[in-house]
């Protein structure tokens, strides 16, 4: 899977590249608008992560260019401005998703993952991790080919974990993914633990291994 990262901040570009490559993607980089236009014209990508605020141009114009080229690449827009207008115009132009800085790398990865799944296989694919098989189209989860029933939150949690397998995922990233940005309004996100406990229990009951490891109380690692 080839991902193009268009981001003018070298440090952030490198972080994204690092994280995505560890998850098995092949990453190419562009630091400004002309470079980005050259790359999308020259190569085919499965997914493009584009910052809106770029030197010598606007990330939204890259979305336009991609649509002109009838590219099948999934597009995620990143913006430093939490602006609804940017988000709407980006999505209208044909971007698939929108992220506001600062974001969790695990969240970006999960979104890239979801887009690729939708795009490349029209959703008719399975996500497999050892004895666990997920059929996103029907939202069913099999452990050792035996179907288990998960709540909506547990299902989302499992998909997120598998997308970010072997990585430490923080509680705030999980909470943000499951409940959106408002979760911090109400205070604690200790209740995540309840969902994780239930998910683990259901998988263990179906004969699966215990893949969810607690990392010093504040994070989790799957696999």
């Amino acid at each position: 899977m080839k991902v193009l990262i268009i981001e003018d901040e070298p440090a952030l570009r490198a972080s994204i590249q690092d994280y995505l490559e560890r998850q098995g993607y092949i990453c190419e980089l562009a630091a400004d608008f002309p470079q980005a236009i050259d790359k999308v014209n020259e190569f085919d990508y499965d997914c493009i992560v584009a910052d809106i605020g770029l030197p010598k141009g606007n990330g939204l114009d890259i979305v336009k260019e991609l649509k002109l080229l009838e590219s099948k690449a999934g597009i995620i827009i990143i913006s430093a401005r939490d602006s609804l207008e940017d988000k709407l115009s980006g999505l209208e132009l044909g971007a698939d998703d929108y992220l506001t800085k600062p974001f969790h790398l695990s969240e970006l990865n999960a979104r890239v993952n979801a887009i690729l799944r939708r795009k490349n296989f029209d959703g008719n694919t399975t996500v497999t991790f050892h004895e666990i098989t997920i059929k996103p189209a029907s939202k069913t989860v099999l452990v050792h080919n035996q179907s288990i029933t998960l709540t909506g939150k547990e299902y989302q949690l499992l998909l997120y974990f598998i997308a970010n397998q072997h990585r430490v995922v923080t509680k705030s990233a999980l909470a943000g993914h499951l409940w959106g940005d408002e979760y911090d309004q109400a205070g604690s996100y200790d209740f995540i633990y309840t969902h994780i406990k239930n998910l683990r229990k259901k998988m263990l009951e179906a004969g699966g291994d215990d893949y969810i490891k607690t990392v010093y109380g504040t994070g989790y690692r799957f696999g």
């Binding site: 952030l12 972080s15 994204i16 401005r81 600062p102 974001f103 790398l105 990585r167 979760y183 109400a186």
Partner: protein, 427 residues
């Protein structure tokens, strides 16, 4: 006291002694004139009488006449060449009072005998004169008062008009709309000076305010990218298997604190955007639906604390708010009601067509009114994940979009009520 009332009052205070003095002057002048006229007439009469007496015979009854106005009586006194004039009061029988008279006396020599001649003429009664003068003066004073009031009113209508216009503008002043204030040129020098001073003042305040605001916004914007970089680096660092437990804990702690900083920054930007009215009212989201959405979102938290939720909601309640702001309004108030509640506490949500009320039980004491909506005022230090901006955001939203927010504390229940004026519903 209004300026107009004050000047009128001062004017009257000055005019009062002037009029009184005028009245006295007028009185004495009149008095003098009347005396003078009467005296002339008396002297004239005397000459006529003398001429007549010179030709009269001795047995003429005229020599024994005694009336209040004419007396001729024999006397032993020596004849006088000059008459004497003086004022006397003579008893008036029909009116039973004394009336003022001028009297002329002279001892004359007629038919080899000396006679005392007394001529009297009534002068207008002084009381009447005083009364008349007081009446005239009061009328003049009243007339002047009316005139002053009327002219002041007219003057204030025209001359003071620019002043009141400027005053009105300053009264309606809003910090974020200072640049729209224009003070027109007037024909009055003083007002032009005032307007020029006001203009330069508002311009200076506006530029200070704008640069302050821009600084906050720019700082918040510029912080987003470094925050993103640091967060990503920490997240990558977390993945390092060779880290010791303490190192990993430190990174996690830093990561969580960074989240707090991000939220703070996000809220500061939000405050600035609300203030800049960057959330136009394009739709009227139903507050009831928004409440239901957030009750769903906070479901776990509510269950965890075993909170009792009471809902008294109208069927629908469309509010003229940007959907993002409606979300923030509900999530902030509901979030607080959950966060600061105790286990098995209550939350009451009331929605009518123009009010949105959230009440919750809490162990926290009443929030003092003066710090209620202040930024960064944390009402309880036990809640570390609060940044003290939630209520400030609600207040800012209310100020910018014409709502009002009330807070009340009764029997351990904190109540926040947001009221919109129905006249704004036609946004």
């Amino acid at each position: 006291m209004k300026l107009l009332t004050k000047t009128t009052l001062y004017f009257l205070l000055i005019m009062l002694p002037v009029f009184t003095a005028g009245a006295f002057y007028l009185y004495s002048k009149f008095n003098k004139e009347i005396k003078h006229e009467t005296d002339e007439e008396l002297v004239n009469d005397k000459l006529q009488w003398m001429r007549y007496l010179d030709t009269a015979r001795v047995d003429n009854p005229i020599f024994r006449i005694n009336t209040p106005e004419f007396i001729l009586r024999p006397t032993e006194n020596a004849a006088q060449s000059k008459h004497q004039l003086k004022s006397v009061d003579i008893y008036q029988e029909p009116e039973n009072t004394y009336a003022p008279f001028r009297q002329l006396t002279q001892v004359i020599h007629v038919n080899d005998k000396n006679y005392e001649l007394v001529l009297r003429k009534s002068i207008i009664e002084k009381d009447d004169l005083v009364n008349n003068i007081i009446h005239v003066m009061l009328a003049a004073f009243g007339g002047l008062l009316l005139f002053v009031l009327l002219s002041n009113w007219l003057i204030s209508k025209s001359v003071w008009k620019p002043f009141y216009q400027s005053l009105g503008k300053i009264q309606k002043l809003q910090l974020n709309k200072l640049e729209t204030i224009v003070f027109e040129r007037t024909t009055t020098h003083e007002f032009n000076q005032l307007n020029a001073a006001l203009s330069s003042m508002t311009t200076r305040i506006h530029s200070d305010y704008t640069s302050m605001k821009e600084l906050t916004e720019d700082a918040a914007h510029e912080m987003q990218t470094p925050l993103a970089i640091v967060q990503s680096k920490l997240e990558l660092l977390l993945q390092d298997d060779t880290l010791s437990e303490t190192q990993q804990n430190s990174i996690l702690a830093s990561y969580e604190e960074l989240q707090r900083l991000s939220r703070l920054n996000h809220n500061l930007l939000l405050l600035a955007k609300i203030e800049n009215q960057q959330y136009p009212v394009t739709a009227q989201p139903d507050l009831c639906a928004v409440v239901e959405k957030y009750l769903q979102l906070f479901e776990e938290l509510i269950k965890e604390k075993e909170l009792q939720i009471r809902k008294e909601m109208a069927a629908t309640s469309p509010w003229p708010l940007h959907p993002a702001l409606a979300d923030i309004l509900v999530s902030n108030l509901l979030g607080n009601a959950i966060k600061y509640n105790y286990t098995r506490g209550n939350i009451t949500i009331r929605i009518t067509t123009d009010t949105f009320t959230v009440s919750n039980t809490s162990q926290l004491p009443e929030i003092p009114g003066n710090v209620l909506f202040q930024r960064f005022k944390k009402h309880n230090s036990n809640y570390t994940n609060s940044n003290g901006l939630g209520l400030a955001i609600i207040k800012k939203m209310a100020d910018s979009y014409g709502f009002s927010v009330d807070y009340a504390y009764m029997n351990g229940e904190h109540t926040f009520r947001v009221t919109r004026s129905l006249s704004d519903s036609g946004f």
